[in-house]
């Protein structure tokens, strides 16, 4: 048990409160913190400069090295505060090129991936890629999140179109073998330990967890099925922890596909979604565990 009171700032944006399930989770964090005798304050954009008044920072607003959340994270880290998500995790998870390069270096089981530089977008290269991975392939912008900026292409014209759009923001893209599955495993990890496990079901007839309906701007999400973490296959657990070990010791959501009995990592996300009644369904203690990590 902690004996001293910690002042925790939870950095949020207004959109974090627009979904009642997410708001519910945020209130659960607040309750868990206060139950342990800590103070828990929501910190909005207006008061970012107040970060220095706290002992720990928990970021729930979307993170990216170009977002305000990185400024909050790095400021907290420079000032010696405990912080989730820490700046290094944001940097590695915010750029999937960085992450896949580390997976390659440290031999993390992963979806077959190649990188494509802006200068390499030509007929021969595209042909080589189709030859290696078959058709279609998945094109991923490094800053992808919530299934956005991930598209598939089955012909050269389409491939070029997608790449040109994604190259506007990044000079390197990731190309992956198309690996359709019924669901993605989502393993929540905190400090090298499994925190919760879910299946993110892929909506029928789609190929990613969040998919657009044809011709409509709204995104449909697949169901979330929570599982008891004690019952998951050992090799799934190992793949998740191995992938996180190259990123850091914070809080992550690892996406893993099961292909022919093998577990391959799709990506490690910092700042994973936690919705009341979804990710926490079988692990109500995840709130307390995260608060503990912030205050220990």
């Amino acid at each position: 048990m902690n004996t001293s009171v910690s002042r925790i700032a939870c950095f949020v944006e207004k959109y974090n409160f627009s979904d009642p399930r997410e708001e519910g989770a945020l209130q659960n964090f607040k309750r868990a913190a206060e139950k342990q005798g800590n103070e828990f304050h929501f910190l909005f954009r207006e008061d970012i400069s107040d970060v220095r008044k706290f002992d720990a920072v928990f970021i729930r607003a979307t993170t990216d090295p170009l977002n305000t959340a990185y400024v909050v994270s790095k400021t907290a880290w420079e000032l010696g505060l405990k912080v989730i998500d820490d700046p290094e995790s944001i940097t590695i998870c915010g750029n999937k090129i960085h992450q896949y390069a580390l997976f390659e270096k440290y031999n993390v089981p992963r979806i077959p991936t190649v990188f494509l530089n802006k200068d390499d977008l030509h007929h021969k290269k595209i042909n080589d890629i189709f030859e290696e991975f078959g058709k279609p392939v998945v094109i991923k912008a490094p800053y992808t999140s919530f299934s956005k900026y991930v598209e598939k292409a089955a012909c050269e014209t389409n491939f070029r179109d997608v790449c040109k759009r994604f190259f506007k923001k990044s000079d390197v893209l990731a190309i992956q073998k198309f690996t359709p599955t019924e669901f993605d495993w989502r393993v929540g990890v905190l400090n090298n330990d499994v925190l919760y496990v879910c299946k993110y079901m892929i909506p029928k007839g789609r190929w990613k967890h969040g998919a657009k309906l044809r011709g409509k701007p709204t995104i449909v999400w697949g169901r979330t099925v929570a599982l008891k973490k004690e019952t998951i296959p050992q090799r799934l657990r190992e793949a998740a922890l191995k992938a996180c070990s190259v990123v850091g010791k914070g809080l992550y959501g690892v996406d893993i596909k099961e292909v022919d009995g093998e577990y391959v990592v799709v990506e490690v996300n910092d700042n994973p979604s936690i919705y009341a009644g979804y990710e926490d369904r079988k692990d109500k203690d995840l709130y307390g565990k995260i608060i503990n990590y912030l205050t220990e």
Binding site: P65, N117, P142
Partner: protein, 231 residues
């Protein structure tokens, strides 16, 4: 040491272009000379590739990201003893008025705007600055009091062309701390003192013949030092 550059340098050092380097698995210290180190742009990917290969590299990815986020630049500069003014990160006009007053200088803190700043002498000018640099109040901005004159200066390996010793000192120290080989600094000068306000990339079209000579000379010098190449 290998130089990776997108600029035509006149040097005897070995120079590789960024695209070739990104496809290579070169194992040696890398000096990454690029006019633009923006996040997700080629200059940044060169440093990232070098780091993943386990090479020492100037500049590091951490410094690339931090130096381009004004609040982090100022925080780390202040801690390194580089003169800065107290700044505020917020999206609230009210807060800036009550805590800093006028005049103020405003920098963007969002994923889209990476250059320039706006100054404001009154509330309506501040609203306009926050509207444009905060992209219709969608993002926070970084505000600093404006106590003197603000100007921009190109700096290469910590050197710059000015007779002002304090400005020279800021350029030198920013390079020592962040190791960004080329950039443009925004500096505020009062009668007594110079303060660091911001950093942004140098456009290729802003590089004069004299600048290129200066960069080439520094690159050659660093290459000769070889072993003492510090990161």
């Amino acid at each position: 040491m290998l130089v990776v550059s997108n600029i035509d340098l006149t040097t005897d050092s070995r120079v590789m272009n960024p695209a070739t380097f990104l496809d290579s698995t070169v194992k040696e210290p890398i000096l990454n000379v690029n006019n633009e180190y923006r996040y997700l742009k080629t200059g940044y990917y060169v440093s990232l590739h070098a780091e993943v290969l386990g090479n020492r590299v100037i500049p590091s990815c951490e410094n690339i990201i931090d130096s381009s986020r004004i609040p982090i630049l100022l925080l780390r500069a202040e801690r390194a003893g580089i003169p800065t003014l107290p700044s505020l990160v917020t999206d609230s006009v009210k807060k800036i008025v009550s805590e800093l007053g006028f005049p103020v200088v405003i920098f963007a803190v969002n994923p889209f705007i990476y250059d320039g700043y706006k100054t404001a002498n009154n509330k309506s000018a501040l609203y306009r600055a926050m509207k444009s640099l905060g992209m219709n109040y969608k993002f926070a901005v970084c505000a600093q009091p404006l106590q003197g004159e603000i100007f921009s200066i190109k700096t290469f390996f910590g050197k710059c062309q000015t007779n002002d010793l304090q400005t020279q000192n800021i350029c030198k120290k920013v390079y020592e701390h962040f190791k960004i080989p080329m950039c443009k600094l925004h500096i505020q000068r009062t009668r007594e003192k110079a303060y660091l306000c911001g950093l942004q990339p140098v456009g290729k079209d802003e590089l004069s013949g004299q600048d290129l000579q200066m960069i080439s000379k520094e690159v050659s010098l660093l290459s000769e030092q070889g072993e003492h190449f510090g990161v």
